[in-house]
């Protein structure tokens, strides 16, 4: 069966991506032997969706499904933006791209010259790029052009990237690469920081340890447990570990950042509250189409 995902002709953020995946579409479903993604004229992919889509497509290819991306506008449309982001540099070469693969890498050609984005960086278990968190954080500084408070936010961005990316190296247990990217939105007033991996997912790595060490916590739903993780910093290695996500959350909350976490079949949006992040109860989703891994996006509001 061909699983076809049609994007609408509008800005596609993570929420719109989920909407497009809904319905009877199950890209990882056992009946899907081919998955097609259709990008019509006017469709514009945002960084949080781009990074998740990249992970999903590479996952599908990894389990031998045929994947095809159809860009109605060709390179003048969102395909050009994705090229500029380095999407195609990270995409599996087995994927069919219509009208055709880009003839050159936009990211390689222009990389680093746009102050408002940091190209998708590969997080590879084989070669740890030690400069990655700094490059991502430097982009934050470049985009803000010496505005007040930039130093603090550079530190926050650096810490968040460092923790999230280190988590991928430590926990995700997958041969597939993870990805990180950053996009500054108009006038530098909001920054989207997206990190994505195709590993087991936070819950799958955490729950086996919780089953013995903290059965009460293990009985929490995925969403409630996720809130606990960001609030209390629980780790499968017991107390004393697991400070990464909690530390990231503490930094992000200072900048009123929203937090979007996609797990294999759940998604939750967290908003800053008095005691740390709390779920935005209007936006908790369960039983979503399977996407391996953990996908986190912080959106900083600087205004």
């Amino acid at each position: 069966m061909i699983c076809q995902i049609n994007f609408p002709s509008e800005w596609i953020n993570a929420s719109a991506l989920e909407k497009a995946l809904r319905g009877d579409r199950e890209p990882h479903g056992k009946n899907s032997y081919e998955v097609r993604f259709l990008f019509p004229v006017g469709c514009k992919i945002m960084v949080d969706a781009a990074v998740r889509l990249l992970s999903l497509i590479n996952q599908l290819d990894y389990c031998s499904r045929r994947v095809r991306l159809e860009f109605e506008e060709g390179e003048i449309g969102t395909m050009g933006y994705l090229n500029r982001m380095g999407f195609f540099d990270c995409l599996s070469k087995n994927v069919d791209v219509l009208p055709g693969w880009p003839t050159y890498s936009g990211a390689s050609m222009y990389g680093g010259s746009n102050t408002r984005l940091v190209e998708i960086a590969r997080i590879s278990p084989e070669a740890r790029d030690l400069t990655l968190p700094t490059r991502l954080a430097d982009a934050v500084v470049r985009s803000r052009k010496r505005r007040k408070g930039t130093r603090g936010i550079k530190w926050a961005a650096w810490t968040i990237f460092a923790e999230l990316i280190d988590n991928i190296f430590s926990h995700s247990q997958t041969p597939l690469d993870g990805y990180a990217a950053l996009q500054v939105y108009p006038k530098g007033e909001s920054i989207m920081v997206a990190v994505s991996d195709s590993g087991l997912g936070i819950m799958e790595t955490l729950r086996p340890a919780l089953a013995t060490e903290s059965p009460a916590r293990n009985r929490l739903s995925d969403i409630d447990l996720l809130v606990e993780i960001f609030r209390e910093g629980i780790s499968r290695h017991g107390t004393g570990r697991g400070c990464g996500l909690k530390g990231s959350a503490a930094k992000a909350i200072k900048y009123n950042a929203d937090l979007d976490v996609r797990l294999p079949m759940n998604r939750v949006l967290l908003v800053p509250g008095q005691e740390g992040y709390r779920p935005n109860t209007a936006y908790c989703y369960a039983n979503l189409p399977l996407v391996w891994g953990t996908h986190i996006c912080f959106t900083f509001h600087l205004a």
């Binding site: 968190p133 603090g152 530190w155 926050a156 430590s170 107390t239 004393g240 990464g244 530390g247």
Partner: protein, 184 residues
């Protein structure tokens, strides 16, 4: 000034000015332990952060914080040369996570990161901070309605929780008396 103290520069144990992640942290931790073990007589290690540009919370947790936790009660570790509030925040978060207090000294004034002493022990802790060494009896004299036994208990708790160090000394009576010292 505590004569039994040595300054170490964390940067000397790191591969680069940035400390990132658990793996790097563990590697640096091993090097730090080697240094500590090579200086058996030293009780206090003042960790200078000069030259360290950034650390994330995982790295902080695996290095100096873990070191302090490991040697709690027998050796103390504190920070000097730290003027970056964002850096302090990450060390604070790491220390808090491990429930391990760590002193930081700036311009002669000390404060504790990570964990605060309980309300009941706070006065005793502040008293000890104000001098390089102290005995329970001194605090009992200085503080109204404080018995030596009560003071002893407070200092003992502060030592067990990692806020102070102590060593044995001989009391005037000939018995054992503890001398408590601040860390740094």
């Amino acid at each position: 000034m505590n004569e039994n103290a040595v300054v170490i520069k964390l940067r000397d144990f790191m591969n680069s000015p940035e400390g990132w992640g658990r793996d790097q942290g563990r590697e640096v931790h091993r090097r730090l332990i080697d240094f500590v073990e090579a200086n058996p007589g030293v009780m206090i290690f003042k960790v200078s952060l000069e030259g360290v540009e950034r650390v994330d919370i995982s790295f902080a947790s695996e290095t100096v914080v873990e070191l302090a936790r490991r040697y709690r009660g027998s050796k103390g570790f504190c920070f000097i040369d730290i003027d970056d509030p964002d850096m302090v925040e990450n060390w604070d978060a790491a220390a808090s996570r491990k429930d391990q207090p760590i002193m930081v000294w700036e311009k002669g004034k000390g404060r504790v990161l990570g964990v605060a002493p309980s309300q009941g022990n706070l006065a005793a802790f502040k008293f000890a901070l104000g001098r390089p060494r102290t005995r329970a009896a001194e605090f009992a004299i200085a503080e109204e309605k404080m018995t030596i036994a009560n003071a002893s208990t407070k200092f003992k708790q502060l030592c067990e929780q990692g806020f102070l160090l102590r060593r044995d000394d001989v009391a005037e009576s000939g018995g054992v008396e503890y001398v408590y010292s601040r860390i740094g």
